[in-house]
């Protein structure tokens, strides 16, 4: 389908595709097998200007918007969701600064992020605070000109690889969710260390680690916006980045389709290619139709966001939900279409199937997305009365 992309958007797509094909595809199985972070690939993406795609030009980026980022994420995800998770988490971690940072904070951090010199991580989740982020227990106490952080963040993408961290912590326990604030913490700050490195089912090229703060003192200036803004910043950040998870879903689904149809065309059983069986044809037709529908939804929500839509929570939740449920189904079907070969590590679809699963879980589980969508629908009806 033709999405009427601009010449520049096509340029971005082609470059991301080139990175994917030349740098990622040849090593993805090894990164997966060895649980290895794609340091060289992230560097190459920095050199290609892809790390700064969404960062304003005045801070050294390309000044592009949501759709361009989605296009890049989709292409990278076609090759490897582990790499695209590392790439997208960088944007996730940057959004708090981009949306709420002062000019000074932006000047200090964004240029290095734009070139890929320093990676970013976003730390919200804790052992007792997953879907219910208001359960966080990490605290930040003001002491003179410094905040003192204490607590442990869990499952943080880019954890040990990043150098800049945006962290949500409680500045006032008694105020509940209104007592949370967001901070920038730099790697190497005394009292900031790393805990367990997770051994995951999929996206094994991405690193997922614990961040441990124990009497970690950071300058007062590292507060983002004001005290008490922590959850608003976190929610707006997730609202902005969630569409990228949808783009990951579209990418991995398309990658799985491309692999499985190529294989099936050459696979002879009963004297003919298995693609000549209608049972197989219909699976393939559904895979592509669902993926195209997901892509159309992701692109149109991205375009709405880029055109200045104010309230896009429901729309972005629908795009994330639909595209990632589609990714899970399509990657599973891709394995099916390839039969026993699809189940083997010689082919990339079993990895794609393992990788796709995370997309239904992180940045708000798909149950939570349904909650958001339904509540917004009900609210709308109530307003109409």
């Amino acid at each position: 389908m033709d999405y009427m992309l601009t010449e520049e958007q096509i340029m971005i797509r082609d470059l991301a595709r080139q990175v994917a094909e030349e740098k990622i595809v040849p090593v993805r199985a090894e990164l997966d097998e060895q649980n290895k972070f794609p340091t060289d690939i992230m560097k190459a993406m920095g050199q290609a200007d892809l790390m700064g795609l969404f960062i304003p030009e005045e801070y050294g980026g390309l000044g592009k918007k949501v759709l361009e980022l989605c296009i890049a994420v989709e292409e990278i995800s076609k090759a490897c969701v582990g790499v695209s998770t590392s790439y997208a988490a960088n944007a996730l971690g940057t959004y708090p600064l981009l949306l709420y940072g002062t000019d000074e904070q932006k000047k200090k951090y964004l240029p290095d992020i734009a070139t890929g010199k320093r990676l970013v991580a976003f730390g919200l989740t804790e052992a007792n605070a997953g879907s219910d982020a208001s359960g966080i227990q990490t605290t930040a106490k003001l002491d003179g000109n410094e905040y003192v952080l204490n607590g442990t963040k869990q499952w943080i993408t880019n954890g040990i690889e990043a150098e800049i961290y945006t962290i949500v912590a409680l500045t006032n326990r008694s105020k509940g969710p209104r007592g949370a604030s967001a901070f920038v913490v730099e790697k190497g700050t005394p009292g900031f260390t790393f805990g367990k490195k997770e051994n995951k089912m999929g996206i094994r090229a991405s690193s997922t680690t614990e961040l441990i703060f124990s009497d970690c003192r950071i300058p007062k200036e590292n507060l983002i916006a004001k005290e008490g803004m922590g959850f608003i910043i976190a929610m707006k950040t997730l609202d902005s980045s969630r569409i990228g998870v949808g783009a990951q879903g579209v990418g991995v689904a398309q990658g799985a389709i491309d692999e499985s149809i190529r294989f099936a065309k050459g696979r002879i059983q009963f004297g003919q290619p298995v693609t000549s069986f209608q049972a197989v044809q219909h699976i393939l037709a559904d895979m592509q139709t669902q993926t195209e529908a997901a892509r159309a939804l992701v692109y149109s929500v991205a375009r709405a966001m880029d055109s200045g839509a104010k309230d896009f929570s429901r729309a972005s939740a629908m795009a994330k939900l639909f595209a990632t449920d589609t990714a899970m189904k399509v990657t599973t079907d891709a394995v099916q279409v390839m039969g026993g070969s699809g189940y083997m590590k010689e082919y990339p679809v079993e990895k794609m199937m393992r990788d796709a699963k995370i997309l239904q879980i992180y940045e708000g589980t798909n149950q939570i997305q349904r909650n958001v969508i339904a509540l917004d629908m009900i609210r709308e009806v109530s307003r109409q009365k």
Partner: protein, 261 residues
């Protein structure tokens, strides 16, 4: 540091077909790329600029379509590009090509270093680098696998040999050709691609180069292609080890065994 990179647009295959009538390459319908060895030259030039400042200019002699190769160089980070294009250049062999390139390089202006790939994958002569250096009257070092040191007016490089490498010190300006061991060429960048889209490529003709017409193109080409054939493969080789004495003994034994001595 001002660096000039010589690049060539070649067909995207080492399996080029050759016309029986003219004994030249058939290029129609084959997609074009930058000669792969020249990609290492571009990368090395950009790295040197990143370390030492200055500018990188890519130059090519070719038909107007060679603009694509120059634009690709810009997308990788090359600052300026120059196309040498004129009907008078057509049919040039390596000698006439080197003459035009040397003239073009002189026209571009003062430079510290010229870098080229060790050879082009379509002709595989490895002649244009050294010939151009000769015509420019500057030192030439082939098969560079590493640039060790650059200082004002001099440079130390490693030249790849069949066994091991030589360390060579040369004065600057100089011309070097590079091998694939030297680096890993980067992908284009978005900013580079955007710049490439809008850049206007300077084209220089024979007149612009104040070149001697008789030294250009077919007229200026002493090479006559009589026949093209694959070379006979090198025979089996064996490296001997041990002291010189031991090695000589082995040689003597082997020659005796084959009844040569």
């Amino acid at each position: 540091m001002n660096i000039i990179v010589m690049i060539k647009q070649v067909p995207d295959t080492s399996e080029v077909r050759i016309s029986r009538e003219t004994n030249t390459l058939i290029r129609d319908g084959v997609p074009s790329i930058i000669n792969p060895y020249d990609m290492y030259a571009i990368e090395e030039a950009i790295r040197l600029r990143e370390q030492h400042g200055g500018t990188v200019t890519a130059v090519t002699m070719g038909p107007p379509q060679a603009t694509d190769a120059l634009k690709h160089a810009v997308s990788m980070g090359v600052d300026n590009v120059v196309l040498l294009s004129d009907r008078a250049f057509a049919g040039a062999d390596t000698w006439a090509t080197s003459y035009a390139l040397a003239k073009g390089i002189q026209k571009i202006g003062p430079f510290d270093l010229v870098i080229a790939g060790k050879q082009a994958i379509d002709g595989d002569t490895a002649q244009v680098g050294p010939e151009t250096a000769d015509m420019l009257g500057i030192p030439f070092v082939a098969y560079i696998r590493k640039i060790e040191k650059v200082e004002p007016g001099m440079m130390v490089v490693e030249r790849l040999m069949d066994e091991g490498y030589d360390v060579v010190e040369t004065t600057l300006p100089a011309l070097i050709t590079v091998v694939k061991e030297i680096n890993q060429p980067r992908l284009p960048s978005l900013k580079g691609k955007m710049k490439a889209k809008n850049i206007s490529v300077t084209t220089l003709t024979a007149v612009d180069l104040t070149a001697d017409e008789n030294k250009l193109g077919l007229k200026g080409s002493p090479t006559q292609v009589v026949k093209i054939f694959p070379p006979t493969p090198r025979g089996d080789r064996e490296m001997l080890s041990g002291t010189i004495g031991e090695q000589l003994d082995t040689v003597a034994k082997k020659l005796k065994k084959q009844a040569i001595i």
